[in-house]
């Protein structure tokens, strides 16, 4: 019986080598990125249909004259949310939860409506205009089915990306966090314990989530929160419009239809 799996990404160990990106592209046969300089060593730019791993280079200016720029690196990926916004909105049931508790887009079912793209709060999903479908990290579903580690975690030379059973990963993260706190890194925190019911790809960060383009815990809300208020507003408007119609259209001493 397959068990829930997880990625624990420790950003304090990431050196920005992008081995994970390359391994992901190779294994999944993803197309190259266009050769252009984007003004940063982070040449990948963002996650999309052709980049399922993205080593984010967060550049921040510091007060120190010798080190005016500080980098925080984070290998970003689909979070395989326990309560996934993309899966919630997908009208075709193309997005499913696998036996490993990961989130998977079935390419033969997706019809390319792109609703999931507007829903994912992490900007993970991209539209592939060649296939006409939405694409993202599969958690190397084919490798998991064959008892192999995902390509990115296999390639990571610093163990920044750790892979294993979800419970084990959460344990490892808690131990690492305690060590860093003991060493005085009070700003270290885990992102992904609570957000969206717990992320299957979660992170150890050294700054607030927004610095890494991750929504804060309070902002981690599902699209369905807007269903009832949205329809309720429409119903009230419909009633007001009907009353307006009654006033405007009513017979004034005219014959009945």
């Amino acid at each position: 019986m397959a068990q829930p799996v997880g990625f624990f990404t420790d950003t304090t160990l990431c050196i920005g080598c992008k081995a994970c990106e390359v391994a992901c592209k190779e294994w999944n046969g993803l197309p190259d990125n266009p050769l252009e300089f984007r003004g940063s060593y982070d040449n990948t730019g963002q996650l999309d249909h052709a980049n399922w791993r993205h080593v984010r280079f967060v550049e921040q200016t510091t007060k120190s004259p010798d080190k005016p720029i500080a980098w925080s690196m984070m290998s970003d990926v689909c979070k395989h949310c326990a309560n996934a916004s993309c899966l919630e909105v997908c009208p075709t049931n193309a997005i499913v939860r696998t036996e490993f508790d990961t989130v998977f887009i079935q390419q033969d079912v997706c019809n390319g409506c792109r609703d999931c793209i507007s829903a994912c709060p992490y900007g993970v999903i991209g539209f592939n205009s060649n296939t006409g479908t939405a694409q993202k990290c599969t958690f190397c579903y084919d490798r998991l089915q064959n008892n192999l580690k995902p390509a990115c975690a296999t390639a990571c030379p610093t163990q920044s990306i750790k892979f294993g059973p979800l419970d084990e990963m959460r344990q490892t993260a808690a131990t690492r966090l305690a060590t860093l706190h003991a060493q005085g890194m009070s700003e270290a925190r885990i992102y992904g314990d609570k957000e969206y019911g717990g992320l299957h790809a979660f992170f150890l960060l050294t700054d607030k989530p927004e610095t890494y383009s991750l929504p804060s815990t309070e902002s981690a809300v599902l699209p369905s929160r807007n269903n009832i208020p949205g329809y309720l507003g429409a119903v009230v408007t419909a009633v007001v419009a009907a009353v307006a119609g009654l006033i405007a259209f009513r017979r004034r001493g005219e014959a009945k239809p």
């Binding site: 075709t92 507007s118 902002s219 408007t237 405007a248």
Partner: protein, 297 residues
Amino acid sequence: MPGEHFVVAPGWAWYILLYFFFAGISGGAFVIGTMLRLWGSAADAAASRLAFIISFPLLLLCPILLTLDLGQPFRFWHMLVDVGTGVPAFKAYSPISVGSWGLLIFGLFSFVMFLAAVGEGGYLRWRVLAGAGRVMGSALGKAFMVIGAIVGFFIASYTGVLLAVSNQPVWSDTWTLGALFLASGLSGAAATILLLSHGRRDAAVTDGKLMLADRYFIILELVLIALFLITLGGVVSKVLGGGWILLWLVVLIGTLVPLVAEWRPALLRQLPPVVVPVLVLVGVLALRAVIIFSAQA
């Protein structure tokens, strides 16, 4: 409202804009046709027929536009059938899923009412149509219209809810979009009927009532635009900033000029009668354009 998300734009553009526009007018026209039938006089029957006659062809454009927008157009039916199990696919909390069924059901209502209106108006002298036309006035016909009008309200409004049920800045930061699209769809539908009744003596007798109704719908729309902007809070700069203000100007012209025309007819007497409904329709389109495009910019 919590809302700092890092969402990518879905790339919904012209097909979706036109779809939202036609869905609003089609649903709105059905609702107006029903209200005229329920509450209007015998003389309003012609305008009501016109409303039903435009509702169906405009609705027909909707699935075409939606299908063209898909990355895999031949899989449009995946919205209705779960490919894995073969059973109908329905997700109550996914507005696209609910909307797909809504379109199908509304298609049935608007098709039947289209035929009934054609029959009643004697535009096609087929016996079956004449029979359908006679049923329009019966209690059964009215019950059918009322149910169809409820679905029509849904078709004109759910597109706004669809945008809100996301994590896209602007769209997901407000509850007003479904309500706003409904009010502006009704206003656009009234304007379309006015435009088409021009030069048709039978339907033009209802023009005064339609203008009055349009005035109310526009006031409702303006209130909802204000609520929309207020509920956006800090994100409001995204829809008002840059060149978007030009589209808002078009929205304002499309709402304020008709109000002035109806309250102070003397001021705009020189204008040909088609100008005001055309301005309303351009405003309805601009409203949807600014909401769809500014959030994704």
